[in-house]
């Protein structure tokens, strides 16, 4: 009987996996904070941050998006039962320009490093 339970236990021994996916390069917080509305131009922004991932035309104005995304996945597989969790957080920066391509507004969210490996029953970011 003991050997059967040992076999059962070994069959149910959990297989687990973790994976991390990053998209783009992390945003440089210092470079972002150095940008000055009314002073920095679109050329200054591109020189400091590189090419944006998106450019949006807003009438005669425009906005550039910089984004770094971090996804962390964890999985626990027990024969026919699987537990999976994926947590995605992103660094984002939107920079807004006027008609003369001068910086008017900057919006920044830096939370990519808050993504976590977890199981589905865990409460993250509470």
């Amino acid at each position: 009987m003991r050997s059967v339970w040992l076999i059962l236990l070994s069959l149910c021994t959990p297989a687990c996996a973790i994976a991390r996916t990053n998209e783009n390069e992390p945003l440089d917080a210092r470079a972002l904070h150095a940008l000055q509305p009314g002073v920095s131009s679109a050329a200054d922004v591109v020189a400091a941050l590189g090419a944006p991932v998106d450019v949006v035309q807003l009438g005669r104005r425009s906005a550039y998006l910089y984004r770094f995304t971090s996804s962390k996945r964890a999985a626990l597989l027990l024969l026919v039962v699987g537990f999976y969790n994926q947590d995605t957080r992103a660094d984002r920066a939107w920079v807004f320009f006027d008609e003369q391509q001068m910086l008017t507004h900057v919006g920044v969210t830096l939370e990519a490093d808050e993504s976590e490996y977890a199981m589905p029953w865990e409460d993250l970011h509470d």
Partner: protein, 154 residues
Amino acid sequence: MRPLLHSFAVALTSLLAAGCLQASWVRESRFAPVPRAALNGFEAGRTDLDDCLSALGAPLWVWEHAEGGEPGAALAYGWFDERNFGLRASVPVAERVSVSFDYGQIDQRMQGVVLFFDEGWRLRSWRTGLLRDLSREARRPPAFVEDAALEEGA
């Protein structure tokens, strides 16, 4: 002897079923929820873009939005946190062909808020709900239409 056989049968069945039957508990979370308290502090006509960016950070999406012939912009914030239980069965029915029934599809609905601004970056209004629906109804004619109208009026 019978319990022993029973245990063995359960173990064997589980082992053999692992390739085609899968029960799952899946959770996916994306981005942080927008703080409701920040939205409560907004006031249409008074709150401007700087106030909103300070309170909410960077949006997920920005697009041009005209309202009543007036040019403007819309900023969308969204988040997603879903837990799902599912059962997936996959049965081979012919060579190189299989049939899958997946009841564990994650609901991709993203909650969100869309802020609408006028040309001077004053907050006109905001709406909360499913971001997919909000963005669909908020999308307006492309930039060149409004731009042409502005030039005619000038």
